[in-house]
Structure formats: structure tokens, C-alpha cells
């Protein structure tokens, strides 16, 4: 009897392990964020885990066409982690701060999609995607302007078709432009 219980417990653990591994967890806030937030005049922080996203998606159901599109996009995502720091003048953060942020989020599972640097202005953009079995499993954007830093981390399967559809919504035009680039990357990733 005891052996059976042990076998059941072990079986459940073996089954649960991959299921847990499939759900990506949101990272803890990076240490440099506190210092940036203290210096910024405007801070936007959005952290939505899988449960909150499911809750928001439920709330968006049946509201209108735009909400339905967003609901479809966020449905099944594992998490959204957004930080946006706006500063009143340039020079409120250093290149080292940005590098710390980049290193904190950049891990081996992310593939660079866009890496752009402007040495004159100090502006930079990094777009990385996470590929899981040739499919998009996440997107990371670190956008740095002289007076603004934006960190966007979206975890989970991103439906690029839905992203493209949202380009028709007011203020979400740029979301559609990334669709093609990511699809190209997926195709390459799928062949690897």
C-alpha cells in the first residue's frame, strides 16, 4: 500500500514538473529600478501575472471589438512586466544603469531581434524574443531615450496575428510592425 502511495506521489511530481516548467515566471524587480524610480519624475509600473491577465481577459470579454482583440492577445500569456521611467532632463541615468538593466533581463534563452545604438544621442533599442520549439514564447524590449527608459517584458505565447490586428487600434500602431520581423525569426528558429 505504501509503495503504491509512493508511486502515485512520484508520478504526480514527474507529471507536475514539466507543467510548471512550461509557465514562465515574471522576474523580480531589478535592483537598479529603485534608483531609477527615485530619480524619475514619472514612473509607470505594470506587473500582471498569469492569474491577473486571465482576470483582465475575463473582464474584457464581450465589451467591444477592441477589447476583444486585446483579450485574445493576452489570453494564454504567462505575464506582463512593464517599467517606464520618464526624467525631466537628460543625464538623470548613466550608461551603466542601462547596462545593468540589460544584463538583468538578458539571458541565454533570449535571441536578439533588434539591437540599435546611437552613440551621439545615447539612444538605444534592444528587442529580443524567446523561442520555444520554434514559436514565440516571449518578447523583451529595452528602449532608452535621453529622457526616458522603457522596459517591456511579455512572457508566454504571443500571437503575432493578433498583434498585427491591434495595429488598427488607436495608439497601438507600432505593435503590428514587429509582427513580420518576429515571424521571420520564428521561421529561422524553427529550422534550427
Amino acid at each position: 500500500m505504501q509503495n503504491r502511495i509512493m508511486a502515485l506521489v512520484l508520478g504526480a511530481a514527474v507529471l507536475a514538473a514539466p507543467a510548471r516548467a512550461q509557465t514562465a515566471k515574471l522576474p523580480a524587480p531589478s535592483p537598479v529600478e529603485k534608483a531609477l524610480a527615485a530619480r524619475a519624475f514619472s514612473v509607470d509600473e505594470v506587473t500582471l501575472d498569469k492569474n491577473m491577465l486571465a482576470f483582465a481577459a475575463k473582464f474584457m470579454a464581450g465589451k467591444n471589438k477592441d477589447d476583444a482583440g486585446i483579450q485574445h492577445l493576452i489570453d494564454g500569456l504567462d505575464g506582463i512586466y512593464i517599467r517606464d521611467y520618464e526624467f525631466d532632463k537628460p543625464g538623470q541615468f548613466t550608461a551603466e544603469d542601462v547596462e545593468q538593466l540589460r544584463k538583468y533581463f538578458e539571458t541565454s534563452e533570449w535571441s536578439p531581434l533588434v539591437r540599435d545604438r546611437d552613440r551621439k544621442t545615447g539612444e538605444s533599442t534592444d528587442v529580443m524574443i524567446k523561442l520555444v520549439n520554434g514559436k514565440t514564447g516571449g518578447m523583451f524590449i529595452l528602449d532608452v531615450c535621453p529622457k526616458e527608459i522603457s522596459v517591456v517584458l511579455i512572457l508566454g505565447p504571443i500571437r503575432m496575428d493578433d498583434l498585427g490586428k491591434l495595429s488598427s487600434l488607436g495608439g497601438l500602431g507600432a505593435l503590428g510592425t514587429v509582427e513580420k520581423s518576429v515571424q521571420d525569426k520564428e521561421k529561422k528558429g524553427g529550422h534550427q
Binding site: F55, K58, F59, D118, E123, V152, L172, T177
Partner: protein
């Protein structure tokens, strides 16, 4: 002769109004009846109290449920606003990326 019935009537009236002692055992009977009716009135009081409590509980439940619904709606709206903020910032970052790439002559679509 004609006044005779009136006298009888007066006599009867006088007899009726005459103070008479209560029949023996009357006090005992009344007290016994009171003892029986007292618990009944207590039961009615308890029933009314229980009904009031039940009504208060039902009303409380309705108020609580309404509050819960309102709170749920408020949280849902907050979550929706957060999603919209997230998309707005994402869009802003991607817009900036497009501008930068366009400035460097390397559009994303290429």
C-alpha cells in the same frame, strides 16, 4: 299599575350593578391561565427575533454580494487599465525603435 315593569327593571339593574364577590377558585383559574399563556408569548417573541435575524442576515448577504460584485468590477477595470497601459508603453517603445531604425536607414520590415 303601568309603572310596575319599570320597577322590575330598576330592580334587575340594581342587582346587576351590585358588587358581588368573585366565585371561589376564580383567582386560581386566572393565575393558572396566565402561567400557560406566558411561555406562549415568549415563544412568539423568540420567533420574531429569529425572523428579524434571518431577515438581517439575508439583507446583509445581499449587501455583501453587491459590494463583492462592485469590488470585482473595480479590480477588473484596474486590470484592464493596466493591460492598456502596458500596450501603450510597448507601442511607444516600438514606435521609438521604428524611428531609430528608419533614421539609420534600416526599417524593421527590410
Amino acid at each position: 299599575m303601568e309603572l310596575e315593569p319599570m320597577d322590575d327593571f330598576e330592580k334587575e339593574l340594581r342587582q346587576t350593578f351590585e358588587r358581588q364577590p368573585a366565585p371561589p377558585g376564580m383567582k386560581g383559574k386566572i393565575m393558572a391561565r396566565r402561567r400557560v399563556s406566558e411561555p406562549r408569548s415568549h415563544a412568539v417573541l423568540w420567533q420574531r427575533l429569529a425572523a428579524s435575524l434571518a431577515l438581517a442576515a439575508v439583507l446583509g448577504g445581499v449587501v455583501e454580494w453587491n459590494w463583492h460584485l462592485r469590488e470585482e468590477r473595480r479590480k477588473g477595470e484596474a486590470a484592464r487599465q493596466q493591460v492598456l497601459t502596458a500596450l501603450r508603453i510597448t507601442n511607444h517603445a516600438l514606435n521609438h525603435m521604428n524611428k531609430q531604425l528608419a533614421a539609420h536607414g534600416r526599417a524593421v520590415q527590410e
